[in-house]
Symmetry: C2
Amino acid sequence: MGERHPTAQAMVELAIQALNEGGEAAVKVDAIVRKCQVSVTSLYHHFGSREGLIEAALIERYSRIVVTNVDDFVSGVKSSRDRTEMKSLLERFVPFLQGRANREVRFARAAAVGAAINRPALRETMGKVQDQQAQVLADALADGQRRGIVRSGVDALSLAYWLSGIVFGKILLEIASPSDDQESTYSELSVQAIESVVLPAIM
Amino acid sequence: MGERHPTAQAMVELAIQALNEGGEAAVKVDAIVRKCQVSVTSLYHHFGSREGLIEAALIERYSRIVVTNVDDFVSGVKSSRDRTEMKSLLERFVPFLQGRANREVRFARAAAVGAAINRPALRETMGKVQDQQAQVLADALADGQRRGIVRSGVDALSLAYWLSGIVFGKILLEIASPSDDQESTYSELSVQAIESVVLPAIM
């Protein structure tokens, strides 16, 4: 993302706050420039348009929130010494990732992905952010493959995307106000599926 | 959804066309009422606001597009006579569902889900549409469980949501301009995972 001018960064922070409170419709140019004590031309100078500010805020909110999850999982893979430890990492981590505590990540991701569908520039940036994260995860999985705790013979980057996709897919259930039982069955099915794909076959 | 007044339906069709061409920003109230040869008050009468029309169009585009997939899969489950036929259905259908030809469904779904995050009314309607579709799929899966071609002991509705979620998750890879190899690895992993969860264990 690079370093932003402090005023531009302040505008992004205010836009993220507005997104969290009420989505894109809540991002008000007037209120943001007033709080930053600058004129509206300063906003247009930094972001081109209100749209440009919204895109910057959607991306930044999303990347910020997802990076912690990737880092935690990567440390988990690195510190797993054998298949059993890798299995127990998945059994601990997948329900956490798909759980309620982590819903905010899926909501931020869904808002950013949905907004990107018809905005080519945002879509390209989102693609880059996803690629960076998937690559960090893929490096850890490739290391796991070399150490025999992750199934070999699968492209690690595709596997990383697949893992992210399966975790994200829970958004469909979440939109529909699921019961506790449905939530936990969903996690159990995901753990079982992920184990079947990620763990090496037992010799 | 119920029956709409012909004029309201014409407005929804024009809004869907605009959504397909350029997303929400392309939905222009003036152009739509002009093409329908009515006044703007007629649009507000039927939908309350431009926002209301957009929500109706997002939902209708999405439901229309997804219902064919659900129906096709349901017929496939119904006509599968044993585990082998169910397995071959999954091996044929999952790559189709996650393939390029079917990307439009995921894009329409992602746009509707993303838009619903911060709009309570849209979110509730989306939840209902998803519940209806998941229930149709769940009925077919429950029938498969009774006939021993789908793993038993799993709540069929949770399984239906899980299947939809795993297919939808591919949107993350699609936003990032994947290679053909990544696309096909993604499908192979999904088939493997879905088989591990959906098919009964071999006796």
